[in-house]
Subunit: 218 residues, 2 copies
Amino acid sequence: MSEVRVLIADDQKVVRDGLATLLDLLDGITVVGTAHDGDDAVRQALTLDPDIVLMDLHMPNCSGVEATEQLAAAGARCRVVVLTTYSDDDWVFAALRAGARGFLTKDSSAEEIRTALITVSRGDAQLDPTVQRRLLEALSRSGASPELPVSIPDNLTPREVAVLRLIAAGRSNSEIADELYVSDATVKTHVNHVLAKTAARDRAQLVAYAFRHGLATP
Amino acid sequence: MSEVRVLIADDQKVVRDGLATLLDLLDGITVVGTAHDGDDAVRQALTLDPDIVLMDLHMPNCSGVEATEQLAAAGARCRVVVLTTYSDDDWVFAALRAGARGFLTKDSSAEEIRTALITVSRGDAQLDPTVQRRLLEALSRSGASPELPVSIPDNLTPREVAVLRLIAAGRSNSEIADELYVSDATVKTHVNHVLAKTAARDRAQLVAYAFRHGLATP
DNA sequence: CGCGCTCTCCACCTCAGGGTTGACTTTGAT
DNA sequence: ATCAAAGTCAACCCTGAGGTGGAGAGCGCG
């Protein structure tokens, strides 16, 4: 895997330079620049095109949250990882809603930072455990099921819908068989029925069908 | 720090016993029992009073989700960590809403499992990075930002993106070849590159990937 | 009761899709 | 001028997916 290119944004010079030195020594990480406030971070991110902006939240002129919003608005390719002092900061959720994909506290070890940067550069997310807990609590409180009312489409039987969902989740026939506790042959039968009913030609078209009918969530 | 007492619930005996042996060797972890389905897990959790129940999602009789709900309803002290094969399972959110505090996939290392168990036993949460990302996406969707910045994903070249879009549109390789005025061989090359870069296994997974990255619209 | 629907399973066949390797050209950056 | 990346194409192999046809079990309904 190639190096992860990181831009560091922090208003305190010692922190900035310390981090730059520390991270540059890590395997798989290259520091491509540093910024001293939010405006500077946005400007440099757009010119340097880093993979990750490692962003402090509290900065003069333009906070890390605002900078994150501006980067998203500008359609920048880079992903934002927040690095701040406290995990119970009021701005945590604001930063996450603005599009931050990572959240670290300043007592993280270099190794933890490295792991987070690589995880986020792969497209996943890496948050401080306390923040993860707060996210879960928010999920439970809101009760907000991110799932929409699903119209069970066409003449699909419940079993066929189950198979279709698993196809949309990228499963192979044999994996579906394992999960539903039936034989491969049965799965193939269901798949053929679903193909016929939905007028799809192959499972790739079935995946698209599933997304269009809310059986899978983007 | 004292030992974290763990109950393991999995319907496959080999997995169950393997995990028990593996985890018992880890520093700070003690396996206090195993269960073969959801009912069994609830029953044993209430008598053994473990710190953590390490729970598979897919189990006969009573799924991991149901078991998690029942433990919460019974006011059990223990916390639930889900350990399952796929991070994009439909039941992930259901499990988290039911109260699961951890989420691991079965290709985690022993060390990762140990870290998660200890983190969760401290009261925090530890989720698979892919699940964290999905949580963030749910947060964004439920919140304000209606438009997701069409991030041109991973390292895909323009040509590869074009091929990916056509795959998501349900085209076969030869149809794509016709539309792009190139040979079938060329299309296959591009497809293989896209598969490698996106870590997808087949075109069905590519379709899902395309929808998740805004390259195709529901 | 017979009828239809659903779910389960088997056997056989074909082929598009995917893996691998290698080669040639163009383009742009150093 | 050299190097790397992107795009184009070809030949090979192999597996999973999809097509066809059939069969038995359980269920609800007129």
